[in-house]
């Protein structure tokens, strides 16, 4: 499994990733889309990760990047395609 940017979160990330893969392939893709088996693990993993992202100042960069979905570039891109 791909490593986390925060080495201290690797264990919990691996547990979450394993849970997600199982849920995605065995439930979600087969139509059981409302189940959320991995919610607790994701919460733990996110708690660990968010702390590190904040410490390193990546959180604010992420917020900016997530907002840029409707940027000028995209508008022009859509016009072209």
């Amino acid at each position: 499994m791909a490593a986390s940017i925060a080495p201290e979160c690797n264990d919990i990330k691996e547990k979450y990733d394993t849970c997600f893969l199982k849920w995605y392939s065995e439930k979600y893709l087969r139509g059981n889309t409302s189940s959320n088996d991995c919610e607790a693990l994701f919460k733990n993993y996110k708690g660990c990760l968010n702390k590190v992202l904040k410490e390193r100042g990546i959180d604010s960069m992420l917020d900016d990047a997530r907002k840029s979905g409707s940027s000028e570039t995209d508008a022009e891109f859509l016009k072209k395609s």
């Binding site: 791909a2 940017i5 990760l49 990546i58 960069m61 022009e76 891109f77």
Partner: protein
């Protein structure tokens, strides 16, 4: 602005391809991908579509061709050789499609690269139209259309380049320095932007091919060993990549899809 476009067909079902997309790192072609994290993930209660936002940390340097074009000190010494990529995906398992968008988060003023992929389940009717009578040859296929947009704003007023966050956790926005005299005299601003965009395109051609090879390996592992097979393959990749003496001599299966590439100049 420049575009790169590529269309490709995987000889695998849509569920397999979408699973492989989430599982694609690490693979033998992704040794530049250092880390992958899930930032957000939820199923939209109205559409039942799965939304995922991931953050990838990749090894990458500003190409030397671009460095030469930048005012002194910019993109140079503080280029740590790593870059953050934000990836958004939406999966609709019922309609059989997945949309992805990946963009660089830093240096977007120098060169903003946005890759969009549209994965689509190929129905038997579509296949009939494409292959004529050879419908029965393959069982399930998934097409993917990749579009990469390059845009350089270098020289256009304020440059929104962002420095890496420093150890104190703060990040600094830098505005473009007034270029030294003579810097823009030999090359027009539009020429510099165009050159930077072209360098981006040439690097992308190779990157798109590599990512496709990586996906094919993950898909082959899925076919032969299921998710367990993929995880075992990853373990071996990690050993090979980070072990003391990675014996990097395995012969990997080649992709077997149909391929065609075109490039457009958006201007």
């Amino acid at each position: 602005m420049k575009f790169f476009e590529n269309k490709f067909t995987y000889d695998y079902s849509f569920p397999a391809v979408s699973l492989a997309y989430f599982l694609r790192y690490p693979n033998p072609y992704s040794r530049h991908v250092l880390t992958t994290d899930v930032i957000d993930r939820y199923v939209d209660p109205n559409t039942q579509r799965l939304h995922t936002i991931r953050l990838h940390l990749k090894k990458s340097k500003v190409p030397s061709g671009i460095l030469k074009l930048l005012p002194k000190g910019m993109g140079g010494s503080d280029n740590s050789g790593q870059s953050y990529i934000l990836e958004k995906t939406i999966v609709d398992p019922k309609e059989g499609w997945m949309e992805t968008e990946s963009r660089n988060m830093e240096w977007t003023g120098i060169l903003s690269v946005v890759e969009k992929q549209n994965y689509q389940r190929l129905t038997s009717e579509d296949r009939l139209a494409l292959d004529g009578l050879a419908v029965d040859k393959v069982s399930e296929q998934t097409t993917v259309k990749t579009t990469v947009t390059f845009r350089s704003r270098l020289g256009q007023g304020k440059l929104l380049a962002r420095k890496k966050p420093d150890t104190a956790g703060d990040h600094v926005e830098v505005e473009e320095e007034a270029p030294r005299k003579g810097f823009f005299s030999s090359l027009s601003t539009a020429g510099i932007q165009r050159t930077i965009e072209l360098i981006g395109v040439s690097r992308t051609r190779e990157a798109v091919l590599k990512s496709k090879e990586g996906m094919n390996i993950v898909l082959e592992r899925l076919r032969s060993g299921g998710v367990v097979g993929v995880l075992e393959g990853m373990r071996q990749d990690r050993e090979a990549a980070f072990g003391p003496e990675g014996p990097w001599k395995r012969v990997w299966l080649q992709g077997n899809g149909k391929d065609r590439s075109i490039e457009n100049d958006g201007k």
